[in-house]
Amino acid sequence: MKFRHVLFAIAAIGLLYIVSISAQTYAITNARVVTVSGGTIENGTVVVRNGLIESVGANLKAPADAEVIDGTGMTVYPGFIDALTSLGLQTASSTGQQRGGGTSGPQATSETNSNYPDGLRPEEAASEELKSGESQFETNRNAGFTTVVTVGRNGVFNGESAVIDLAGDSVSAMIVKSPFAEHISFATIRGQYPVSLLGTFSALRQMMLDAQRLQEIQKLYAANPRGIKRPESDKSLEALIPVINRQIPVVFNANSEREIVRALDLAKEFNLKAIIAGGQESWKVADRLKAQDVPVLLSLNFPKRTTAASADADPEPLEVLRLRAETPKGPARLAQAGVKFAFESDSVKSIGDFFTNAGKAVENGLTRDAAVRAMTLGSAEILGVSAQTGSIEPGKIANLVVVKGDLFGKDRAVKQVFVDGKLFEIKEQPKPAETTPSNGGRAVPNVAGNYSITIDIPGQPLAGTLAFTQQGNLLNGTIQSSLGTAPIRDGKVTVEGFTFAATVEYGGSTVDIIVKGTVSGNQISGTIDSPQGAIPFSGTKNP
């Protein structure tokens, strides 16, 4: 598929296939209704009025003023919930935590009333960085998602997430719940403490203690300020007070068994209300998760081998081979152990994989009902929005998906999506391969894939590989050369092309680079900016 064709397909989808209708009252009739909370109605009707579900049942008559949608042969589900995304945020790097190079000193923090550096700022709230406009959610909504958790992904503290509905032309109309949780990554900060995982833990611990103390002193001071130095109004610590008081949960991004165990230990130490996100190996610690009553936002990004065959390389470690084989069995094992979980799409390559892999989880022993629950009511319960959404019940938000065919099968086709009672008619389900996340209505190119590149260092051209994955306008992946492999960060795709930053080792020291480029057809080109100057690179996409 040529790149231009992709662009054309996106434009076509945008212009022709989606018609937004804003009538007030609807009745979906003769459909199979999976209410999730109250079983399945084989031949049912769902009535939507003023953004809410008015009624649902087997023998309902469509109200006279309703626009009737014939649901014969269709299944109506509660709108699907994606429990972890960065949708609607400018870029995941909006916290700016990784700006600056290896030679710059500690960043000034005096411009805000936080005493902590970027990356250790729990007060950064997704709700304040959300962009308005519903067209940006098109791809995800077309796939059947009505509700998502969104949060930035940089820093140790990713900040406060929000639960949003994927419609509404203002930020305030999209928000269902904010904050949902504080999100933490076991990440580091470049150029200043903490630069290692060791420091990440001690920095987290010190901030929790500082927040505890701030609260204590605030109480003393409120009771009687005389003789007590006024407590500092540090907004980073103030943002942690609801966290240490268990008023809002903490989502730890943790995939491996040991990361999950570390998160559980930290949660125990500070009596935090913990949630695990990612959770690739969470089934290995299911007993502890159950005992500590910790739910999992389980990624449906199931690993598979992406490295090329090579006679020179050592065979892959057995544990890697096992991990790939075992991951699809994880959801069933969690269910069996009684651990609560919700599916999330974080880092899946294409949103269609969400359902394909949920189907794989079903093939590997998860019941269909449990799989559906993990993307509807079960998810809503973990997110604390189950009173409003997640099931088809009178009085709940009219978040609904009308699906033709098997939800987990290849014939799956989403026909209509209701978000807050607003109907999005999807006349033709675009194939997953053609979908490209959209960006504010303007299509951004899909640059995902692997590229073999040549970096034109004068006199010694260097071969390398760029491996890109893309979610919306966010770019992730690695840059690899004989100098080593580095993860890319602050990666972003715009209509103009892509940019990302990375830190590579060169000539015995580390160098911060900024890479800008464009993809055209199977050609890639651009420049690598470093303190030593700009170097062009070019290459081709591996088929």
Binding site: V195, S196, G199, F201, L209, R305, T307, L318, G484
Partner: protein, 466 residues
């Protein structure tokens, strides 16, 4: 039976359990018969039996018998020693250095332990049962250490020895001043000289003393508001109070002497001088203070700081009455510490048992775990090795590594299991998820061995040690 066992083992492997779950036998009796026992405290006992019960050494003697259900090992012609204790290791941690600051006492290796590190299993195959997992040497005052037993296959919380006294890493010389290399992601920082290193330490202790005073005042009711808990200074107060052991990396004796004088000034004792390749120059000063030294047996002159290292260091220190241990500081050297101990018999003629102590009882003493491990005595933890020949022979192999009565490495079972693992691999490689993409794909990293970028053991970085 054999087939059933093999099936059971592979089933456990498939379930993702760790490799030795099937061998778990901590509560079973174990009787080792007719071995040559190197006790590392009461000499060598010929034709001797050791009875292990509830993870402890219950009896040592001749013609011992065990209850029914006990595992009996015929060790005729074999040697038994205490498990090896490595007093300086960076194995099983996902991060070694917090290189950003000169004082990182708030960090600790306990937070970043990786109980699935394959280096643990390899160390077990070399007879190591306990290790001192240290922070790196990038900082004048580094992070808190963790003293572990290598209970590979157990959950991480089983690794730290619960009653081991806490400790901390200090470092002197080239690594903390860092003038010869750059640290990934970290701008150059103070100190840049050896005098700056000791100043950083003194400054930290002065701050710790003030901090302690602030808390004392608060506890005495002199102040209204509790001081801020400071995770950087808390461990240093513990050092001053003698509750936390200092393990101080350094090569030059002038620096180590300086550090001991600093400790005198603040009223505590340095637990171990780590590396101390020229510690022989200040042996009486070390002995007088009861400080231990943990060395390499060779690595003479491998870098400028180590230029005055000599083969006879261990001998001279031992002669002066210093408790000496031999450490690895390397995942690779860790697997053959028995041969490093043998070298001190050659250079200077340290007696056999004293040499053996340098990798067993002495490091246990230095780490404060000698009440439970380091020698073969009734009542101690059954941390035992069965060797095919005398452990100081290059032909000797560890046949079994036992920690608290549980077998964590069994050479015969390891060999037997390889066919099952090969079969498992073959089956896994056939799965779609494990096949390389039909075309393209990322190039694999060659060689594939995972290595932390901040790691700088013998094969990496400054070619030296942390």
């Amino acid at each position: 039976m054999k087939r059933i066992t093999a099936y059971f083992v592979s089933l456990l492997l498939v379930l993702g359990n760790l490799q030795f779950a099937a061998f778990g036998q901590a509560n079973k009796e174990l009787l080792i018969k007719n071995a040559t026992v190197l006790t590392a405290i009461h000499g060598t006992l010929e034709n001797t039996d050791i009875l292990v019960r509830n993870g402890k050494i219950a009896k040592i003697g001749k013609n011992l018998s065990a209850g029914s259900g006990a595992e009996i090992i015929d060790a005729t012609g074999k040697f038994v020693t205490p498990g090896i204790v490595d007093c300086h290791s960076h194995t099983m941690i996902d991060a070694i250095n917090e290189g950003s600051l000169s004082v990182t006492s708030m960090t600790g290796t306990r937070d970043v332990l990786n109980p699935t590190d394959i280096a643990i299993y390899r160390a077990l195959a070399g007879g190591v049962t306990s290790a001192n997992i240290l922070h790196g040497s990038a900082n004048s005052i580094g992070g808190k250490n963790t003293v572990v037993k290598f209970k590979y296959g157990h959950p991480v919380e089983d690794f730290p020895i619960p009653d081991a006294p806490p400790g901390i890493k200090f470092a002197m010389g080239e690594n903390p001043k860092g003038t010869n290399f750059s640290r990934p992601g970290v701008p150059p920082r103070y100190p840049r000289t050896r005098m700056g290193v000791i100043e950083t330490m003194r400054d930290a202790f002065l701050r710790a003393r003030d901090y302690k005073r602030a808390w004392d005042d608060y506890k005495a009711g002199k102040t209204k508001v509790p001081p801020r808990r400071d995770l950087e200074l808390e461990p240093l107060v513990e050092v001053i109070e003698g509750k936390r052991l200092v393990h101080a990396h350094g090569y030059r004796s002038d620096e180590h002497l300086n550090l001991m004088l600093l400790a005198d000034e603040f009223g505590f004792k340095i637990a171990t001088l780590q590396h101390g390749l020229e510690a022989y120059k200040i042996a009486p000063e070390i002995a007088k203070r009861g400080t231990g030294v943990s060395i390499f047996t060779d690595s003479w002159g491998y870098k400028l700081e180590a230029y005055d290292a000599i083969p006879y260091n261990a001998y001279l220190l031992w002669k002066a009455g210093v408790v000496v241990s031999i450490n690895s500081d390397s995942d690779e050297r860790m697997r053959r510490l028995n041969l490093d101990a043998a070298k001190v018999e050659k250079y200077g003629g340290v007696p056999e048992e004293e040499a053996l102590k340098m990798i067993t009882l002495n490091p246990a003493k230095q780490l404060g775990i000698d009440k439970r491990t380091g020698s073969i005595e009734v009542g101690k933890d059954a941390d035992l090795l069965i060797w095919s020949a005398h452990p100081f022979s290059v032909y000797s192999r560890v046949e079994r590594t036992i920690i608290e009565g549980e077998t964590f490495f069994d050479r015969a079972k390891d060999i037997q299991k390889r066919a099952d693992l090969a079969k498992e691999r073959e089956a896994l490689e056939k799965l779609d998820v494990n096949k390389p993409p039909a075309a393209g794909g990322t190039q694999p990293r060659i060689p594939s061995e995972h290595r932390l970028e901040e790691r700088d053991d013998a094969e990496y970085g400054d070619g030296g040690n942390q």
